[in-house]
Symmetry: C2
Subunit: 251 residues, 2 copies
DNA sequence: TCGAATTTGTGCGTATGTATC
DNA sequence: GGATACATACGCACAAATTCG
């Protein structure tokens, strides 16, 4: 019977200590030298064990200092269909989630006219090349970058209206549903498709991710009014930092 | 200016080739020896680069054979509130998703009486120690284990009814909503909370996961009838194998 | 059937750079 | 400055699985 590799055993020991709270968030793991002495192993076994935990997002290493248990605190992102028209006042969904977690939300944005590429055209059920408004966001909580998103709206719907530019005018920061309500477009449904994948180089840069553990969650969200897509967005979240909550009525 | 580490550069090169399709699913990566020759690096650099890609779920290694690009095919899991009472006939949500993907669903289950621990009691809004029906499932698609779930129902609701045992009687395999409908409990809402974490040892066993890349998605789902929890379940999915789709009406 | 070659998996030792304390 | 610690990197060795003639 084959025995389990030493670095798997060590990773399992440390993982158990972390998940049980014996090594709480912020705690410093024993140094590689100590792990070598205490477990009778070589440095490379210690390194592979710690690399495993890094890949799981449980720890982060700091050169010259040590390896530390990551803060498992997650931002809760709520997705439901209520109170989207008038309810919570002039705050975006991200700002509401961040404030509810006691964190200070800020964001940067950039809107511009663009044309739909093939994938966006499919999501919006329009022709490739059709004009769209493209808006990119970078959200921060307590100055830590924690969400990227890019949204596309068909200009056939909003061109010439007061809400053509999402981040300008009276209906700024109220969310897509309320904004389009103000021009008589009544959104009645949305869909979110969630996958995960390795972060792209620019996403690693924008989210300040380390090359290890650079997996992101990707949400493709589309709003519909009577079956017609009115806005679609791609939302990128660093893995391990969010809890996603969906609340859905059963008809 | 510090230059980027060699194993990051190599990982980036291979990652780009994989994501672009130049190295399609099933393709064999160059052997470590070839990578050493072609890039002028040591064996360990090649190993660390490939370990990075394994952690991202992009490749799998087979001793004695090679490292292969993983099949990116994902099972689509739909979560919405329609057609849950009568619509799709006698199939569970998992079976419907699997068949829609052209795969053959099978599952094992185990039901037994139990008492609610603290976390289950909180999710069901009952007292800790209250009797519940606990049912564990292991779902397979084409004989590949791909989903675990455990559900809890308060026996205060179902005890003595024809649907007390979820996998026995007339209302088997029709889903929770239709099953409880048959005893007059009308579910009108559900909530799902999604996080990710490293797989536990028994989950790795049950899902046939390799120690590397053993991250799972965890969904905590609760059904409500007029605000009262009637069933809660913990669903464990291997990461990288699912696309989750939520469709939510906007009120 | 057998054996040789190949390939990954695991593990050791060492060295250098650099960040932290 | 010195000690400590992690990050990166090289080389080597053996085991185990696979491949293929």
């Amino acid at each position: 019977m084959p025995t389990e590799p030493a670095y798997h055993r060590l990773a399992a020991v440390l993982r158990t200590q972390i998940l049980s709270g014996e090594l709480p968030p912020g705690a410093k793991l024993p140094s590689e030298t100590r792990l070598m002495e205490q477990h009778g192993i070589s440095r490379s076994v210690a390194k592979w064990a710690i690399a495993t935990l890094k890949g799981e997002g449980l720890v982060v290493g700091r050169a010259g200092s040590g390896v530390y248990v990551r803060d498992g605190h997650r931002l809760v992102r709520y997705a439901h269909g209520r109170e989207m028209r008038t309810g919570s006042g002039p705050t975006s969904p991200f700002a509401r989630d961040a404030e509810q977690a006691g964190r200070t939300p800020t964001w940067e944005h950039d809107s511009r006219h663009d044309v739909a590429d093939e994938s966006i055209a499919r999501r919006l059920a329009i022709e490739p090349g059709a004009p769209v408004m493209r808006t990119s966001y970078r959200f921060l909580a307590d100055d830590e970058p924690i969400q990227l998103s890019t949204s596309w709206e068909p200009l056939a719907i909003t061109a010439g209206t007061p809400v053509e530019w999402p981040e300008a005018g009276a209906a700024v920061g109220v969310g897509v549903v309320a904004r389009l309500d103000s021009i008589g477009v009544r959104i009645d449904e949305f869909e979110e498709r969630l996958t995960d994948r390795p972060a792209l180089p620019d996403e690693m840069e924008a989210l300040a991710l380390t090359p290890t553990s650079a997996t992101v969650w990707v949400i493709e969200r589309t709003y519909y009014a009577a079956g017609v897509p009115t806005e679609t967005a791609t939302i990128v979240l660093p893995r391990g930092r969010y809890e996603l909550v969906y609340r859905v009525p059963v008809l």
